[in-house]
Structure formats: C-alpha cells, structure tokens
C-alpha cells in the first residue's frame, strides 16, 4: 500500500488523504458484507471454506480499519510483509447433501469444561463432532496444546479455533524469545481476544478457554469470537454445558485433591454426554500445574457409563 512505501503508519496516511481513504474503505466494507452474506447462505462445506478465505485479504481488511495489525509496537502483530496465507480445503466433514439453506455449525454441539482448584486447572472435553443429526466423528481433539504450559479448548468452528490458537502459539513463542520469560495467561488470552476482535461480525465462530499456570498461579480465561474475555474459576462451553455445570457446581471445592478434581471433571463431561445428543465419544482430561500441563486420561463414555451405572444395579 502507498503508505508503506512512504514508511508512515496507515493512520497518518488516512488522515492526510480523507477522500481517497473514505472511498477505498467504504468500497471494501461493501465487498466484505457481500461476501459474508453469500457465504452464510451456503452449507457446511462452504462454512469451512469461508475459513479458507485468503488470509492476506483479511489482513488488508484489518489494516483498512485503522488497526495497526502489523505495526503494534509490542511486535505482536504480523509484519506487513508477513502475509498469512491459510487455505484449508473443506476435506473434513460430510458433503453438503442437506441443501444450500442449512447452516450447519460444527462443534457448537460439544461440551468443554475447565475449572481452577488449589493444584491448578482441570480441563475436560468430549470428542464428538456433529453435522446436524449426523455424527461426523467421535474422536475429535478439542484441546489444543498451545505450548507446554498453555492449553486452549475448542468450541464453535473447528478451523477457527485451531487456526487462531496455533497463531496464538506463534505469538506466545515470539513473546518468550523477545522477553526471555514465559507469557502470562492473561496476556496470551488478551492477544487472542484482540486478534479475533478485529474480525468481529465477519462470521468467526470460536468459544475457547485459555488455561495455564503463570507466576500469578493458575489462570483460566474464556475468550470468544464476540470479543468476550473473562477471567473465572469455572467455565463450561457448548450444548452440553448446562449438564456439566450441574455436576461441577455441586462437587467443586477449592481443597480438592488432583484425583478428586479429575474425577469431577470426568463425571461432569460424562453426564453431559449422557443427556446431550451432540456430545459424546471420549472424555479427554488434562491437568495444568506449575510445571505445565499433563494429559491425564482419555476414556470412552460407554466405559464410564458402565463404571458409574454398575453399582446402582
């Protein structure tokens, strides 16, 4: 863009060229709205394809809104020459036999859960992916390992979650190298929230929990594509979250042992899969402690069912 040739920030160029900027800006917005409207009318594979939109285009968009995406002094953004080109072909999921009008959400049907306790954070997720009434997969990995001491959960669009969290991993690593210390959970979640906020209203679907341990102790933040970012002690996200809340709320105490907390998380997800049609598969359990995260267990829901229901007989 012209302003880069002149080595001045976009905002200064924009203020110096009000008319040209305004025309370009409004034309871009009209084009964007048109694109997002047409995409949202298409079916599953196209929902995935919208994630495969050329991200260099998206980067330009964020520039045109005056956010210096590539130029924050913290160095957190991509450099202008650093075009992120991410094209996922819609190879996952079924073909869109359901017709063009059905807007199929991948992974809102899910249950993910995380809570803090004295020994860190427990993260428990199910592993079912549904497309309408079709179970697309029972073995989805809904916990993304950002780095050895940070975890992110996945709810909403699978591509959105995994892409942005991998991008977050890149930013966290750069932060670590620049500042010679690990990034805090607050800062990592803030980076993610700021990144997706630039795309607010453009159809991103992501509800993630960033969990980790930093010098302030255990950290748990809920970040979503609406721009919410909240710190908390307990979050459950997805269609089965209400059932999970019921179990965790009644069993959560600060002085749980690691074993008890894992069992609580496992039980909560199991109950959610029992009642919610869109959750199931296996329960993946992680524990985040001061040394980092550990994968505690992966158990099939049916096995848990026998384990819990057997004594009742």
């Amino acid at each position: 863009m012209k302003c880069y040739r002149l080595f001045i920030p976009y905002s200064r160029w924009r203020d110096a060229h009000p008319i040209v900027h305004s025309q370009k800006y409004h034309r871009r917005r009209r084009v964007c709205r048109l694109i997002s409207k047409t995409l949202s009318k298409m079916a599953l594979s196209s929902v995935l394809q919208s994630e495969s939109a050329d991200f260099s285009f998206n980067n330009d968009r964020s520039f045109s809104f005056g956010c210096r995406f590539g130029q924050t002094d913290l160095g957190f953004g991509a450099a202008p020459g650093d075009r992120l080109n991410f094209a996922i072909k819609a190879s996952l999921g079924p073909d869109d036999k359901d017709g063009p009008e059905r807007k199929i959400e991948f992974l809102h049907g899910t249950t993910t859960l995380a809570f803090k306790f004295q020994h860190g954070v427990i993260v428990a997720v199910d592993s079912r992916a549904t497309a309408g009434a079709y179970i697309a997969s029972q073995t989805v990995k809904k916990v993304i390992e950002i780095n050895p001491y940070l975890l992110g959960t996945m709810a909403g669009g699978a591509a959105d979650c995994s892409f942005w969290e991998r991008l977050l991993a890149r930013q966290c690593r750069v932060y670590e190298l620049r500042n010679k210390e690990r990034i805090s959970v607050a800062a990592a979640s803030k980076l993610l929230a700021n990144m997706v906020y630039q795309y607010k209203g453009m159809g991103l679907s992501m509800g993630t929990m960033v969990c980790g341990w930093d010098k302030r102790g255990p950290g748990l933040y809920y970040v979503d594509s609406e721009g919410n970012r909240v710190c908390g002690d307990l979050f459950a996200v997805g269609s089965g979250s209400m059932y999970a809340y019921g179990v965790v709320d009644s069993g959560l105490r600060q002085d749980l042992s690691v074993e008890e907390a894992c069992e609580l998380g496992r039980r909560a997800i199991y109950q959610a899969t029992y009642r919610d049609a869109y959750s199931g598969g296996q329960v993946n359990l992680y524990h985040v402690h001061s040394e980092g995260w550990t994968r505690v267990s992966q158990e099939d829901v049916l096995k848990l069912h026998h384990q819990y229901q057997e004594p009742k007989k």
Binding site: F7, T72, D73, L74, N179, A186, K190
Partner: protein
Amino acid sequence: IYDRAITVFSPDGHLFQVEYAQEAVKKGSTAVGIRGKDIVVLGVEKKSVAKLQEERTVRKICALDDHVCMAFAGLTADARIVINRARVECQSHRLTVEDPVTVEYITRHIATLKQRYTQSNGRRPFGISALIVGFDSDGTPRLYQTDPSGTYHAWKANAIGRSAKTVREFLEKNYTEESIATDNEAIKLAIKALLEVVQSGGKNIELAVIRRNQSLKLLESKEIETLVTEIEKEKEEEAEKKKQKKST
C-alpha cells in the same frame, strides 16, 4: 522528499549521521544515573534559567510510568518525542499484557525506535542519549543507557552529556558496595559526581529518586542544598584527617 536516505554508510563503515548525533549529545548538559540497592537516582545539571523564565518548565527528568523514569542529554525537542512514544508504549503494554513494563522492555522499545530512525528514508537519528531507571515488578533496580545509534546497555552507574567521561571516571573510582549501602549514600554519590563538573554547586543540580514500590520523587532545592553542605563538610573532614596524618 521521502526518497533520499540521509543515514548512509561511509566507505570505511561509519554511519556519520549517527556519529554526528552522538556529538550533539556530547554538547548537552550532563546527566548521571546511579543504581543503588533499594533506590535509583538520576541527577542532571540544570542550565541556568533566564530571569523571566518559569523554572518549572525546564524539566530534564521525566516519568515514563509509576515505576520508570528517564533523563536525557542532547536535543530537548527530540527527547520530547521519544518520551511521548515511551509513555504511550508503557500504557499500551499495561493494556495488552496486563502487567507494567519492565525497565528492559521499555529501554528496548526506545532503542528500537532510535534504530528505526537510523535506517529510514528522509529521517535523521534522534540526537539524544537517555538514562532509563526504575524497578521491575520483582523489585530489582535497573539502570539502562541508550544512545542515538539504537544500542542499549545496563549499567551500575553512568553519565551522559558534557564531561561525561570525567564523571564516569569519578564513578568508576567511587562506586563501591559501601558507597551505595544506604539510600542517602547513593544520593550523595550522585551529587558528588555532578559537583565534579557543575560550576556553581547545589543550585544547578536537579535530582530525582525512585524507591522500590514508590513513584518518582524530585528532590527540592532545599534538600539538595542540605546534602551539598553535608558533602562539603565531609570533604573538609577528609582533608583535615589527611593533614593530621601528614603532620604525624
């Protein structure tokens, strides 16, 4: 206008504009910084103020945040720009990272800014050297110095500006563990260092301190005067002792 590069290499590998900028720094008034154990001290030589001028507006020591401050030597106008950018960056960092800046971070930011100006079209380097002092959130005191080329180093004690060499030599001789043992001692060391080069004593010295978990404090001229008289008394006592030793 933006096409001509001003800072280009000379045949023998020097960046002359940067070196000229360093010359400009050497013409500025002296600033000295000392890192104590629980205190960091900044002292500057105050240029004599004209009769009608308001003294308050001639400030060479500026707070960048609650826990960091800096003094500079060189072109005051350039310094103003750098200080503004640094202040904004301190708050930006608080917003995105939810933590106050470390002294090293803000120094690195200022140094990167300066370096950018040595490698841009149509711009000249900043003509200032800065002494940045403060405490990190874990309580360690820090002192950094930057110069127009964009490099930065950590120091235990340093001086910049006019006669910086003399002051630095004085500090090298007198900076010992005992000389910075208490806060007062550290302040007195800074004053002593400045008195080496400042003409008329306490009136032309401006001093600022940061103590751990406290914000920047500018010492009033009365306090400086008392400390100066203390120092002069100590000097006399030293001279007396030496005389007695010689006579015996």
